[in-house]
């Protein structure tokens, strides 16, 4: 019996990365800007999407993929507005993977301009998986506390945009908004930052304008 050692040098995420690249290529060529939303559970991803849909729909076409461990509650909320939505239940997995999104590509309507993917509520694991998005949004709600960017750096470092949500709670909760922005920019100086409230609608329009700019930028660079 003899022994042998072989060099492999293969990235364990290579199959996910390959599928993600194909998704990005496919959706961008169809004129769709894909946005991956990351946050802790309960920081308001679905409520933010409802508000965004209110502004966009039906003049502008969007579609939503909801990721959760169980239930189709979130997709139902979006569908109730007439917006095409799909629910992925992961059966326990803490994140979405590119191959899950790939299965739904054929169903995304032709005229779609924005595809939002709401990841499983978790600031750790989803940060490691490219879903083929053009834009990664990370949400941080006022009640969660200002230390999140420093505690979960990978999510904030890989994101393009930070949305601070539930800003209407600011008078009731000790939260240093400027310090949070400073710390988030310490982790990632390129972060675009928006402050929003899904309850009052504050800041949503500015965020939507940013999404339109990003879509234009992507389509231009792809043309």
């Amino acid at each position: 019996m003899s022994r042998k050692e072989i060099t492999v040098l293969e990235d364990l995420l290579s199959s996910n990365k390959k599928i993600a690249r194909e998704i990005r290529e496919h959706l961008t060529s169809r004129g769709i800007l894909t946005v991956n939303l990351l946050s802790s559970p309960g920081s308001g991803k679905t409520s933010l999407l409802e508000r965004i849909a209110e502004i966009l729909w039906p003049e502008h076409r969007l579609a939503v993929i909801e990721g959760d461990i169980e239930t189709d509650l979130d997709a139902s909320r979006i569908k109730a507005r007439g917006v095409p939505a799909w629910q992925i239940t992961t059966g326990g997995a803490c994140h979405l993977e590119a191959r899950m999104i790939a299965r739904l590509l054929a169903e995304i309507p032709e005229e779609t301009e924005f595809l939002f993917i709401e990841n499983v509520g978790n600031l750790v694991c989803p940060a490691a998986y490219d879903l083929g998005e053009n834009l990664r949004l990370v949400l941080l709600s006022i009640p969660e506390g200002e230390d999140k960017p420093l505690k979960y750096p990978k999510a904030f470092l890989t994101a393009h945009c930070l949305v601070i949500t539930k800003i209407d709670l600011l008078p009731h909760i000790p939260f240093d908004l400027e310090k949070t922005k400073r710390e988030a920019r310490k982790i990632n100086p390129q972060l675009a930052i928006f402050t929003t409230s899904a309850r009052t609608g504050e800041g949503i329009r500015e965020l939507v304008d940013y999404l339109f700019q990003q879509r234009e930028r992507w389509l231009k660079s792809h043309a």
Partner: protein, 129 residues
Amino acid sequence: MWTISFSKENDGLNPMHELSLVASLFEILEAQRKKEGFKKITAVRLRCGTFSGVVPECLETAFEIYKKETHASEARLILEVVPVKFRCRRCGHEETAQDLPFICSVCQEQDIEILDGTELTLVSIEAEI
């Protein structure tokens, strides 16, 4: 149909993402074993960046769970932890990061490019043939 359900049984998904990654690792190991005609895998060397989003201890636990009843059931996992290395986009200085935030120690610039430390790579396999 607007709900798609995935499960551990059918899709190899696991509640800890390190287990999902180890499942990918074993797919690669099995493919290599067949290709090379290995009888038994005795060691697996992985390079794991400190900023890969993976907890080395979880990866080790996942490996021990997964290897049972495979051709790597007696294999050792050798983990090489790689620190974050970055290059400053302003002055071009390269350094190993000690801690967050990643700031150039020469010119204090924060606009940096990460060169190393985000990877999770299967480096090599040792086997009996």
